[in-house]
Assembly symmetry: none
Homo-oligomer: 202 residues x 4
Amino acid sequence: MAEVITRTARGSRADARRNRELILGTADEYFAEHGVGGSLDAIAKRAGVGPGTLYRHFPTRDALLAALLSDRDDELVARRERLRVESADTAAALDGWLRAVVDWAAAFEGLPEPLRAATTTSASPLATTCEGFVTTTAEFLTAAQRDGLARSDVRARDLFLAALATSWVGGAALADDATTTALSSLVRAGWATSAPLASRAD
Amino acid sequence: MAEVITRTARGSRADARRNRELILGTADEYFAEHGVGGSLDAIAKRAGVGPGTLYRHFPTRDALLAALLSDRDDELVARRERLRVESADTAAALDGWLRAVVDWAAAFEGLPEPLRAATTTSASPLATTCEGFVTTTAEFLTAAQRDGLARSDVRARDLFLAALATSWVGGAALADDATTTALSSLVRAGWATSAPLASRAD
Amino acid sequence: MAEVITRTARGSRADARRNRELILGTADEYFAEHGVGGSLDAIAKRAGVGPGTLYRHFPTRDALLAALLSDRDDELVARRERLRVESADTAAALDGWLRAVVDWAAAFEGLPEPLRAATTTSASPLATTCEGFVTTTAEFLTAAQRDGLARSDVRARDLFLAALATSWVGGAALADDATTTALSSLVRAGWATSAPLASRAD
Amino acid sequence: MAEVITRTARGSRADARRNRELILGTADEYFAEHGVGGSLDAIAKRAGVGPGTLYRHFPTRDALLAALLSDRDDELVARRERLRVESADTAAALDGWLRAVVDWAAAFEGLPEPLRAATTTSASPLATTCEGFVTTTAEFLTAAQRDGLARSDVRARDLFLAALATSWVGGAALADDATTTALSSLVRAGWATSAPLASRAD
DNA sequence: AATGAATGAGTGTTCATTCAT
DNA sequence: TATGAATGAACACTCATTCAT
């Protein structure tokens, strides 16, 4: 009989995990279609679960968002590693990383907004996510600064926010790629020293 | 008799104008408290007019916002003129102008968002407002470029959007002035050439 | 000076009449597009007059409707006369008249409703209009009854209402002409005696 | 254990069903007072539920109406059965049925209108209701036609619409029973053949 | 006589969140 | 642990009607 209970418990847990994944998958789809402001009820309905279930797994919209983004972390970690080994220099690496952040924050329409809020006020599940990004940015930035390729008075947090802001400017219609690119370049020109140009001339 | 007619005409309009000003004042207050997403009905109620009256004057949230901002235009025009005559050089003028835009867009929480949308899609009363700003930015930028103080591949529209984005990063709590300042400096470093430093040395 | 005043007065009256016609023409157009439930404000706006002006001329939607219909009376009177002289017999005349009423009530979407209300409750400017129609119907009916072509227990008012109801069934989409025709025939079979069939056999 | 589950299931549903019945009862009352155009919000308020609850159960005014009418279906089915066995002949049965439809459609002021719309355009929960009625009408009509008591060129759909129209003529004030009766008789005379008169003479 | 600004109750609908089952 | 019914405040927007000018 204990076995039965255990089996049931295990079953329940599997069910819960299955539901979690189900919700996550549906939310990914739904947010991609309707932006991060989409109705949570609608997500629950599409996933075939009750709103209460969604709420139990993700008590907050931000919590759901954070879980969603953490699933995409793998890609970003891979990209980070690639940048580390493949970049021509540490400036190129930092630049590549910031552009990756811009793309990442453009995953869903309206995503930059909660990310900014989390970075600023830090009372959200997304704060942890953002912190990780700032840390990585700091690593790239420090390396570039050590090589004299980045100005020393630039802070990692500001660069992260600049990337977020660049993504925000793109807005819903990412059609205007030119603007996004232009801003990314502007930001790069903002943190880079003139030194590398000289060294490139060599 | 002409006077009578005038008086009558003025009278009729005075009533409407009084209401218009009343609504505008209330909206200013309300948006300052609740951000640009605040309830229009609530504004009407607080102003002591029916929702229809508000709607008659400002058929759209954006229309109300545009009217609100146009009231502030005067300050900005004044600032522009001051920058033209008082700035050390055209680079300082452009920098000052962009910082003015950043402040201006921070008037209400959430204001950067509709401004960005208007800049991008141009089907809103705010679009005109934004266009005016882009034009002024272009004037400052062109002057700086002529003096070799700004990179030639930078566009006015992107600088305006960068200012908007800087304001957006500040978010509701403008408490974090440091971040805003840092981003403004980053943007300046982004468009400025190194030349001026050299020329300054002259 | 008296002359001036008179001229002014005359001018005013001409203005008023012109406005009346203007409103009437616009309302005809607008009701044709949006049905009789269309916005009176919209009509005033399209006519280029204030809502107060419309209201002064036509204090009620029904008053406007009645004026509109009275303009169409001429057509109907003409049709009535034609029916009187051209019909094969008094039964054909009555039938023709009722079908004319059906068409007339289909002038605007939703028109049958206020007509029915006016016929029933008689406290509307449309009541007079309807009474005229009932009277004409009575004339045709009496003639047909005298010739033994219409059942004697049928009342003119009921025939008028039946015509209205037939028009109502057609509703907005008069596409379903078949239904309207079928109902008209049903009604005819309802009031006609079998006698005419016999006489036709001759 | 099955009992427990059942009880739970029933319990959960009982709550919803109780509300459903509550809303239905209130709507019945309210529509009887104010006609089918009455405010849905007001119904929710009077029922003591939130507007969302009403909306959950009945997403459309027509859906609510359909549910309301389906509750009355039972009476009508009973009446149909009685007509089948008790009528003197198939003509009397058809006549009785059509009068029953007239009464049924007079349940609320303004009800004939959505019914007609549903019959014509068929994109509403009421369409199903109407279809059922047309089908029953067809059964009675076919029987009468087989007995030579109804004209063969009459269609069931038109008879149903004629009944609706008769009900519509009655309008809000069912006071004018005479008119309703007169129209019902007119319609009957419209579809009935003269044959029965002959057979009656036997 | 005309204007048009003002009114304000009223509409259907949405949705994050709670909680009884 | 899951369900999904219930909540109810909130939203933008309309329009017949009045009335000061």
